[in-house]
Amino acid sequence: MKKEILVCQGSACVSSQSRDVYDALESELKVRGLEEKYSLKPTGCHGFCEQGPIVLIEPEGYFYCQVKDKQVPKLVDCLQEGSVYEELLYKSSETQEPLKTRNEIPFYQKQKRLVLQNCGLIDPESIDDYINSGGYSSLQKVLSMEPDEVIKEVKDSGVRGRGGGGFPTGDKWYYGRQPQADKKYIICNAEESDPGAFIDRSILECDPHRVLEGMLTAGYAIGACEGFVYIRSEYPLAVKRIYSAISQALEKGYLGKNIMNSGFDFDVQIKQGAGAFVCGEETALIESIQGNSGMPRPRPPYPAEKGLWDRPTIVNNVETLSNIPIIFDKGASQYARIGTQQSKGTKIFALTGKIRHTGLVEVPMGITLREIIFEIGGGIKDDKKFKAVQIGGPSGGCLSEGYLDFPVDYDSLIDAGAMMGSGGLVVLDESTCIVELARYFLSFTRMEACGKCTPCREGNTRLLEILQRIIEGEGKMEDLDRLETLSRNIIDTSLCGLGQSAPNPVLTTLQNFRGEYEKHVKERKCPAGVCQALLSYKIIQENCKGCGICMKHCPAGAITGEKNQPHNIDADVCAKCGECVDKCPFGAIVPG
């Protein structure tokens, strides 16, 4: 078998200069006349983005991390000798043993990669690679079935929408199938704007045909001949790859007229978003495709009945559509064995924040947060203490240590006050201030709110003002109750999902970290040492050598003391800039 050198060209690896590595490999193979012997291939993302650029050698499966272009000659030497380039292997964080293949790395051991099965292994810009790995065979199966049977299979699989709400996909398709209309539409929602999530981007960059196959199946099931991919323009590489996938699929007859001689026609267009978080909401997204400002409208009527240009329209998220080929490959009953009673299949999470191994992971529904964070993610960075995990982005919730053994599925997360959302999972350590985090999320949703309905526009602004007050040390105890009441009112009365979920971070942080709020209000202290107005610095007398460096750098002249004697900070004069903490060579100045 011809050896393959697979170089990751996902967004994260590209920012770590993986293009240079690819170019260096290309020219090195050329110089040594080895182009025929080895096949060099660009691939999508392995998910272990922090360790990029990643190079995979097949068939041996050697998994090289953090490869630099200057290491390429030695890498090719190893290839020719048939040896392993040990320095490039991932080292076990416990034993420091080098691990040769992907499956030996703890980051991969607890994962179940179904939707991501091709990621990192095929060239995303080659339809042949996709077909050779079994692609478009599920579509063949689908086209030989009756549309009602297709919908039944999706219903039986139990798959639910991966974009946030978790609505059963089969039911949605059923509602889309019912109305009679001259035209129907399928929209793939790739407006993934949750800060901290990059699942849809990765799928589109790594395996775009899988998404098209899902869209084709949906179109066939409900009787639609036209589809749209509504994608963020902030994802240029994903845009490029979905364009190239569409043109290749057209060429090969998987799109266009009479697909695979079935008599089924389907075309896909791309619509690039113009930067609006609220367009992830389906009615806002439809408004945007129609050339308007992306403002949501009340439902019902649901898009399945009256959507794009008033025609029946099904909006499914990228990850949901990517699950569809798996359901038809495996069969609904086999698919339904993965996951929990009410949440079937796998879920992809973007694991980020203060965690050792950041990246993209796919896990079976029902796995615990502890397994994801500590076993897959390798625990907290720099051996700090776990404080909380924010799950589901700005619409989600902030869960404390007590929830670590909670199973991760749609319903358990709702019970915990969070939500699956789009799958962002941001891990926080003791140096993150919870109140400031709630303020951060709220300022994001408030900025992104469209301004149409009053509860969201005015209510979230008032919430933000209260949080700002607490952070600045002006909070009152009544404010905490006020936050809670107002949050509940906003949730009950807002027009769309954005407003209805925007207060979630406030409510969950209040519920799980009330003590930290109270410290801000009652003691005027920020335990994490983040809120500038509540900070004060002190000099640990035993550690201070009286060198005078802090005194020289203090812009406010707040530090006094004799040479070689412990110094002091005058809290009334201190500007809280933190310059002294950075400059002290003995670590003698601390917040407190």
Binding site: P195, G359, L360
Partner: protein, 154 residues
């Protein structure tokens, strides 16, 4: 420029929902969306100026003011936020002597915030034009800017 905008208007005038892509392509051509261009689009598509300005100001992507040669976008996403994005932003403001949203006097750099560029595993992240720079530390900023300053000179 005039005729380019005219051509784009012709291209999109009959397409339902064409206003957003028309604004996108016009901005790509002109660099930003000055008032006279918006007026031309409104009359070309038979829409009110209020409608066109409404859409242009609703989306973050559109600019009604000219921007610099190099666009620096500091990611303010959650992962970057908890890994110090606001310090990075402050360091850029200090280095360029402008505030976020502004353009340097020599029109070389525009400094912007972006909600998330989806490279969270490399936080804190910024992008300059189409290049992403990850795991950034404030100390590296002058060197990074230097590369782009030189690129402009040559």
């Amino acid at each position: 420029m005039q005729s380019d905008v005219e051509n784009l208007i012709q291209k999109y005038r009959e397409i339902p929902g064409g206003l957003v892509p028309l604004l996108q392509e016009t901005q790509e051509e002109v660099g930003y969306l000055p008032r006279e261009v918006l007026e031309k689009i409104a009359s070309g598509l038979n829409l009110s100026l209020a409608k066109v300005v409404g859409v242009a100001t609703f989306y973050h992507q559109f600019y009604l003011q000219p921007r610099g040669k190099n666009i620096i976008r500091v990611c303010m996403g959650t992962a970057c936020h908890v890994r110090g994005a606001s310090d990075i932003l402050a360091a850029f403001e200090k280095e360029l002597n402008i505030e976020v949203g502004e353009t340097t006097l020599d029109q070389n750099f525009t400094l912007e915030e972006v909600a998330c560029i989806g490279a969270c595993s490399l936080a804190p992240v910024i992008s300059i034009n189409d290049n992403t720079h990850g795991k950034l530390v404030a100390g590296k900023i002058p060197e990074l800017l230097g590369k782009y300053e030189k690129a402009v000179l040559h």
